[in-house]
């Protein structure tokens, strides 16, 4: 893994979200991710989607939710500290212009990167609290529809009767509801799964394809055409 310096850290008012920028200028595609860890503990790195890259400043940002063993380590960091990353990993979103973006929770992170690289036809973001909404507001493009409940973001999106290609990221139940309710264009979903290596070695992040085969979220994804994904493990 590569040592990188933390440049900036900012927390939502309820300290449920962290936006962290590190000095890392390796070019990445929207939808790609890195494995990140802080020192020796927890020993296994975590996957995080790339949220933004500032080529001028040479920084890359990640949006991280308060969760799991890594969070306490992140709280102890200060700008100037060192973290370790490996990446960029995964395939990223296809190079389509003007997609519709639908994200739930930290699923907005890769979509923010998409929106920074091309015009988008719409952005729907589901967040967990008003504090998160206020925290993300400066990052979201003008006109973004925000629901203060990640479960409602698909309802808001479907109610607008949009048409066209969709890029979506969030918890699997949310993606499944979106896929069931949207018939007016292709959907690409960026899947979330626990990972250890991030590069296809350990087979720890499986997703079942509709043809019965098993793909790996890290190396075959994390972005998949929704039509390929079986939302249940059993046939």
């Amino acid at each position: 893994m590569t040592d990188v310096i933390v440049r900036r850290m900012s927390f939502s008012a309820d300290r449920s979200l962290l936006l962290i920028a590190v000095d890392w200028r390796v070019g990445a595609r929207p939808g790609q991710f890195v494995m990140l860890k802080v020192g020796d503990w927890p020993v296994v790195p975590r996957p995080f989607s790339i949220c933004a890259q500032d080529r001028e400043a040479g920084t890359t940002s990640f949006l991280i939710r308060r969760k799991g063993l890594l969070w306490d380590q992140l709280l102890r960091l200060q700008p100037g500290a060192t973290v370790q990353i490996k990446g960029p990993l995964g395939n990223g979103f296809p190079d389509l212009s003007a997609p519709l973006l639908v994200g739930g929770g930290c699923g907005v992170a890769p979509l923010l990167f998409v929106a920074a690289t091309r015009p988008v036809a719409g952005f729907y973001a589901g967040v967990a609290s008003a504090a998160e909404q206020a925290f993300l507001a400066p990052l979201l493009p003008a006109g973004t529809v925000v629901t203060v409940n990640p479960q409602f973001v698909t309802d808001a999106f479907l109610a607008d009767r949009c048409a066209g290609p969709v890029f979506a990221c969030g918890p699997s139940p949310m993606l499944r509801v979106l896929a069931d309710g949207y018939q007016d264009g292709p959907i690409w979903v960026s899947l979330e799964e626990r990972m250890a290596c991030g590069e296809g070695l350990c087979k720890g992040c499986p997703v079942r394809r509709r043809d019965g085969s098993v793909a790996l979220v890290c190396s075959d994804g994390p972005v998949f055409p929704e039509g390929e994904v079986s939302w249940t493990w059993q046939d």
Partner: protein, 288 residues
């Protein structure tokens, strides 16, 4: 640390550091993206007679100083492995070990017979102890008589290259299992597979893993592994591949102190194979 020259079962190793079966996958990606020449050996992920899709997700849960995995022997089956994966590994830049698991003596024997006719790998490891499957291949290693039966059958079918037996961490009769391995013709002991472990989400009361329990690996395991290696070392002169908690170069040396000849670094391979290769290089044969 002068001269970590290692000779095991007639093979010379450039370093005592190996990648054990599982964390490095089948080797295709590793061979393509990393310089493996400093490694003592690489063990390809276990293959079984027929394809297995593995366990349902989630398959991984972190424990801080370790990881619990529940992969479930996902593999394409030995025929597809030999047809499509194995040719991409040739020539392999260091010693290549293959790992097999079956549910019966005849399944092990059949795979061994097939592999006896396959050139290009140096050692056949029998996975007698996968903690993540319901099938009997997960418990063969706990029964000395079953170990003896499998190894004798494989020895007959695979006579010309070394065989290693990978035993479970929780083997109830260590001396019996070791004696069975010796008597049946094992050349190397691989010690140990991951012990069973579990974690629960206190918010839901449910287990983190789809299959509830998995195999534990990582630095937290090292002192437990070392104690068990000492016991086995006192029982046999067979070469030992030790694994279960080796994360640093010093850890490898500690495993050697406890009696291991070669040392597997599994979890560290997941973090970054290049770091494992760098440790292997640091501990290369003849280094001082």
């Amino acid at each position: 640390m002068a001269g970590l020259t290692v000779s095991v079962a007639g093979l010379d190793f450039v370093s005592p550091v190996i990648i054990p079966a599982g964390p490095g996958g089948f080797g295709t990606e590793l061979r393509e993206h990393y310089d493996l020449t400093a490694l003592g050996a690489f063990t390809a992920k276990t293959v079984t007679p027929l394809a297995r899709i593995g366990n349902p997700p989630p398959r991984l849960v972190d424990t801080g100083f370790g990881l619990i995995n529940s992969i479930g022997l996902q593999n394409p089956g030995i025929a597809a492995f030999l047809d499509t994966v194995y040719p991409t590994l040739m020539p392999f830049p260091t010693h290549l070990f293959l790992s097999i698991a079956g549910e019966t003596v005849s399944e092990f024997e059949g795979m061994a017979r097939t592999l006896a006719g396959v050139e290009g790998f140096d050692l056949l490891e029998l996975n007698l102890s996968c903690p993540n499957v319901e099938a009997s291949c997960g418990v063969i290693g706990t029964n000395p008589q079953a170990v003896r039966d499998v190894v004798m059958a494989v020895r007959r079918a695979f006579p010309d290259r070394p065989i290693a037996a990978k035993l479970p961490f929780e083997v109830p009769d260590v001396s019996g299992a070791v004696r069975a391995c010796e008597q049946a013709g094992v050349d190397v002991l691989t010690l140990f597979n991951c012990p069973q472990a579990a974690r629960f989400d206190v918010a839901t009361g449910k287990p983190f893993l789809g299959r509830v329990t998995g195999g534990f690996s990582g630095p937290a395991l090292k002192p437990l592994t070392l104690a068990k290696l000492l016991v086995v070392r006192s029982l046999t002169h067979l070469p030992i591949i030790g694994m279960g908690g080796a994360w640093t170069a010093d850890d490898v040396l500690e495993f050697r102190c406890a009696g291991a000849d070669l040392v597997g670094m599994g979890l560290h391979t997941l973090q970054d194979p290049a770091e494992v290769c760098a440790i292997a290089h640091e501990l290369r044969a003849g280094s001082s």
